[in-house]
């Protein structure tokens, strides 16, 4: 049996030599700004999330915030920041080829939804009211989708500054982040802090964002 070293040496000899670069390979050159750091991506995410939540809360009202207890506000705030961090790391690694893999993109894309559903089910009261369920929820869903569209403008800037290799994964991450901003603003302004409403309608914003992102990624991939 051959030893590892011998196999390596023979492989070294057998690999074909590479061809030299053809003449004129380096064409027109223009200076470019170096790529985005993880810190910049996280800062953009934090700015978009804070801007939309605070700005939306100030202009559209913060009745949801007032309907929550201090503990609920703290837990939901911590959840939002943690999810933003995870999605930011996933987006940063998706925008820079050859960067360190911090989080599994598939997990990062579904984690906000799982976290939100689990926490909402645990810390909010279950008082389902069938007469207002659809009417209230439909309004929330519509507003959440508008917010998602607004926050997508911020993330499109990031995509333009990076180089995307895996469209489906990254678009899912960015979609999940837009969903997170939508759900965060709804949480601040929606007075209906009831578990069923939160899980179905506010959770629906997260699902819509992630699925919308994945669909956009799939279409971009098909178009390439």
């Amino acid at each position: 049996m051959m030893e590892e070293k011998q196999i390596w040496e023979r492989l070294e000899k057998e690999i074909r030599p590479g061809k030299a670069a053809p003449m004129g390979l380096v064409g027109e050159l223009t200076p470019v700004q170096p790529g985005l750091s993880t810190g910049v991506v996280l800062t953009v995410f934090a700015a978009v999330l804070t801007g939309i939540t605070v700005g939306g809360g100030l202009t559209l009202g913060s009745r949801g915030m007032l309907a929550m207890t201090v503990a609920q506000v703290m837990i939901m705030g911590a959840l939002g920041v943690t999810m933003m961090g995870i999605l930011g790391l996933a987006a940063a690694q998706g925008l820079r080829p050859g960067s360190k893999v911090w989080v599994n993109v598939r997990w990062a894309n579904v984690l906000p939804l799982i976290g939100f559903l689990a926490i909402a089910a645990m810390i909010f009261p279950w008082r389902w009211m069938p007469e207002t369920f659809i009417a209230n929820g439909w309004g929330c869903l519509r507003e959440g989708l508008y917010v998602e569209l607004a926050s997508s403008a911020g993330v499109i800037w990031l995509v333009r500054r990076g180089y995307v290799m895996h469209w489906a994964g990254l678009a899912g991450t960015l979609g999940a982040f837009c969903g997170l901003t939508g759900a965060a603003l709804l949480h601040v302004m929606c007075p209906d802090q009831e578990a069923t409403h939160l899980i179905v309608w506010h959770g629906g914003i997260l699902v819509g964002g992630t699925l919308g992102g994945l669909l956009a990624g799939y279409l971009l991939l098909r178009g390439k």
């Binding site: 074909r16 390979l25 050159l29 470019v32 820079r96 500054r161």
Partner: protein, 164 residues
């Protein structure tokens, strides 16, 4: 790479002189014998377009080979799509088989390895990157790269034992 980003022609030419042969060697060793030229040039175009996405002082080769791997996957996908629409008029020459027939011992055996193991082995050997750098280029972990290289080596050793 920093000079290349700042549009310095000498830096760009130096980078091309260092990286292009590596890319060509990588593609031709992966069994893309007749397409190595096209792939290397396509990859260079992508590297040029994506040069803003490199961030100093991170290592350059993982960035280069992450894009190189992606170029190959994209081309493979395109070929698969177009070959489904094309009808062969006559049986062509199997360049890969002819090349393989003239090959000495180890390299043809690589064809029997799973694609991911073959790629890891060649990245380690062709580019001289460290385990950490190969992990960055393949978007995986050092442990996974070590495992793939070990499994590839075990398979090669077994195949060579069978052959001898």
């Amino acid at each position: 790479m920093i000079g290349y980003q700042a549009a310095e022609r000498t830096a760009a030419e130096q980078l091309a002189a260092q990286v292009y042969p590596m890319l060509h060697r990588f593609y031709s060793s992966l069994g893309e014998y007749e397409r190595a030229d096209d792939l290397a040039q396509e990859c260079w175009i992508r590297l040029h377009k994506a040069r803003h996405s490199y961030r100093p002082p991170e290592p350059v080769l993982p960035w280069v080979f992450a894009i190189a791997r992606h170029t190959r996957v994209d081309q493979f996908r395109k070929r698969a799509r177009s070959s489904g629409r094309e009808v062969a008029m006559a049986k062509g020459v199997d360049f890969a088989a002819t090349a393989a027939a003239a090959e000495p011992t180890v390299l043809p055996l690589l064809e029997q390895l799973p694609s991911s193991q073959k790629e890891v082995l060649l990245l380690l050997k062709v580019t001289g990157m460290s385990l950490e750098e190969v992990a960055l280029a393949t978007a995986s972990t050092v442990g996974s790269v070590k495992q793939k290289a070990h499994r590839a080596y075990e398979t090669l050793r077994r195949l060579m034992g069978e052959k001898s």
